[in-house]
């Protein structure tokens, strides 16, 4: 019987992908292939019918040739991966080896005649709906688009030991030191280019603290000015959080940024220019100088 495959390194990703696979499965069963024992265990309990735990690789990427070899033999109908950077590399390499198409950053996936997928183009400006008829279908799925299935009776985990001839060697892996927790935050204050000096980020921090939230920034603030670590920038190419309240300070509202926060419940902008694109993309915009508005807001929140 044909299978749908989920390929994941992280347990959270695997659980979401299994939920996607479940919603797509016709008469197929679902297999999870992973190089992580923790992920294997999570997948076995959350919807996989079969789990293959690979051993012998030095990095998740090590298994690309082995997974492709198995895909050629077992001919799964679809292969689903996460949209994190490692997974996107793995997916693209597998698609090239399998001479298959690959839909990146899918925000919606349905089974019609073939697989119907939706993804954003031009920095989030437009949404493309596409149908893929040929097999195998490959997609990387945007995070947060499926609810993990409840834990059930665990499926069996089969160990597969392989030897890997890695052309790329890992020398070191240094975890990020950023203490921020943007993805879980209920409130986010985002600093944009309208914040004039690095020390003025304190204003954003104070506002975030008053609201029990976290501070993020736009891509230029992280990558051009280097005022905040890269893992704090928000946008279609960075973090895509979905807070209850998203407050921008001096953010003009370019599409690449706003696309990253489209799932926010309420967007508030503090912006000098009443013609800025952010006014079209926010629920509420206070037209004013952030250096005057933020202290007023802090006072109002404390009263």
């Amino acid at each position: 019987m044909a299978e749908l495959w989920v390929l994941a390194d992280k347990a959270e990703t695997a659980k979401e992908l299994l939920a996607h696979a479940k919603s797509l499965a016709g008469d197929e069963t679902i297999a999870c292939l992973t190089g992580s024992a923790e992920t294997a265990e999570a997948a076995a309990a959350h919807g996989a019918d079969r789990v293959l735990l690979y051993e012998g690789g030095s990095r998740p990427e090590s298994y690309v040739p082995h997974w492709c070899e198995r895909a050629r033999l077992e001919r799964p109908a679809a292969l689903l991966l996460g949209a994190d950077r490692r997974s996107k590399e793995i997916a693209a390499r597998m698609a090239a080896r399998l001479q298959a198409g690959l839909i990146s950053d899918c925000v919606k996936l349905e089974r019609r005649e073939g697989f119907y997928s939706e993804r954003y183009l031009f920095g989030g400006l437009c949404l493309a709906g596409e149908t893929t008829g040929s097999a195998p279908f490959l997609a990387t799925m945007a995070a947060g688009k499926a609810q993990p299935l409840p834990a059930g009776a665990p499926a069996s985990v089969e160990k597969v030991t392989v030897s890997c001839d890695d052309a790329v060697r890992r020398i070191d892996l240094r975890p990020h030191r950023s203490a921020s927790n943007l993805m879980e935050a209920k409130v986010i204050v985002c600093a944009g280019r309208g914040v004039a000096k690095q020390e003025d980020l304190k204003l954003a921090e104070e506002l975030a603290r008053a609201l029990g939230g976290e501070v993020g920034c736009t891509r230029p603030v992280a990558e051009e000015r280097h005022w905040m670590p890269e893992e704090n920038y928000i946008g279609i190419t960075g973090k895509k959080p979905a807070p209850e309240l998203y407050i921008t300070l001096g953010v003009s509202g370019q599409i690449q940024h706003m696309s990253g926060v489209r799932d926010s419940k309420c967007i508030v902008a503090i912006e000098k220019n009443d013609g800025a694109p952010i006014t079209e993309a926010a629920d509420y915009t206070i037209i004013g100088d952030l250096y005057e508005v933020v202290p007023k807001m802090l006072a109002e929140l404390r009263s």
Binding site: C126, L173, H176
Partner: protein
């Protein structure tokens, strides 16, 4: 050393409009430019060659509009530019692009390093680099924020969600770079003048023995619509703006 820097000639999305009524995409006012991510790829190649000697061949594939990109890419420091002419750029997906680039790379001859941007500004599928490496059978190091060469060994810092991964591989290899790897130079008048004298070359798909069938996309586009932002768009001005906002947020139960 011989470096190939790949780039894509893309529409500047800042000038693409969405029709409010039909949600149609209006591209008529948008101009083409080198995809911003690829400017960092070109810069990366040029800096390596400036330090080590050698040449950077800029390589692209696309329709007739791509002709205008050649002088641009040469003004950014590439030694020569090669363009694979294709009927229509938009008709290529990442698989077709990678297949075409792979064929062109083989025709270009020996190389040490291929540099690509992490993704393109239009599709941002982030597939072309890793696909190209697989088709050529060379190691790929993606999402590089720092790159070092020691003899034949390429060492790269990859910025991943979980942290910084330091990896190395022997040349020839392919690297995809993040925008923060460098600051791409802005060409001056001198560079623009000099660009006109640098060699350019055009390959036809037939030169690469590729047919339309080989590069046909696997997915059929069903729809392309402007993304809707369903927001309240309330402007608050004047003395009481902050008070008003805080009371609205409190009433909505979000602060």
């Amino acid at each position: 050393m011989k470096i190939i820097a790949c780039y894509k000639w893309t529409l500047d999305e800042a000038d693409i409009r969405v029709d409010e009524g039909t949600r149609a995409i209006l591209k008529n006012r948008a101009q083409y430019r080198i995809s911003p991510y690829d400017r960092n790829a070109i810069e990366c190649g040029v800096q390596l060659v400036e330090a080590q000697g050698g040449e950077v061949a800029a390589l692209t594939v696309g329709g007739p509009e791509v002709a205008a990109s050649l002088k641009d890419v040469l003004s950014r420091g590439a030694t020569r530019a090669v363009w694979v002419g294709q009927a229509e750029t938009a008709a290529l997906d990442a698989a077709g692009t990678a297949l075409t680039l792979a064929a062109a790379v083989k025709r270009l001859g020996e190389y040490d390093l291929i540099v690509c941007g992490e993704g393109s500004s239009d599709n941002y599928a982030q597939q072309t680099g890793p696909r190209l490496a697989e088709l050529l059978g060379i190691p790929v190091l993606t999402y590089a924020s720092k790159i070092e060469l020691e003899g034949n060994i390429l060492r790269v810092e990859r910025k991943l969600e979980e942290g910084i991964e330091v990896v190395e591989a022997a040349l020839p290899a392919l690297v995809t770079v993040l925008p923060d790897i460098n600051e791409a130079r802005i060409p001056g008048l001198k560079q623009i003048m000099a660009a006109g004298k640098k060699p350019t070359e055009q390959y036809a798909m037939a030169d690469l023995t590729l047919t339309a069938e080989d590069i046909r996309p696997t997915a059929q586009q069903e729809s392309l619509l402007g993304a809707v932002t369903d927001r309240k768009r309330v402007l608050l001005k004047g003395e009481n703006a902050v008070k008003e906002l805080v009371s609205i947020l409190k009433a909505e139960g979000i602060c």
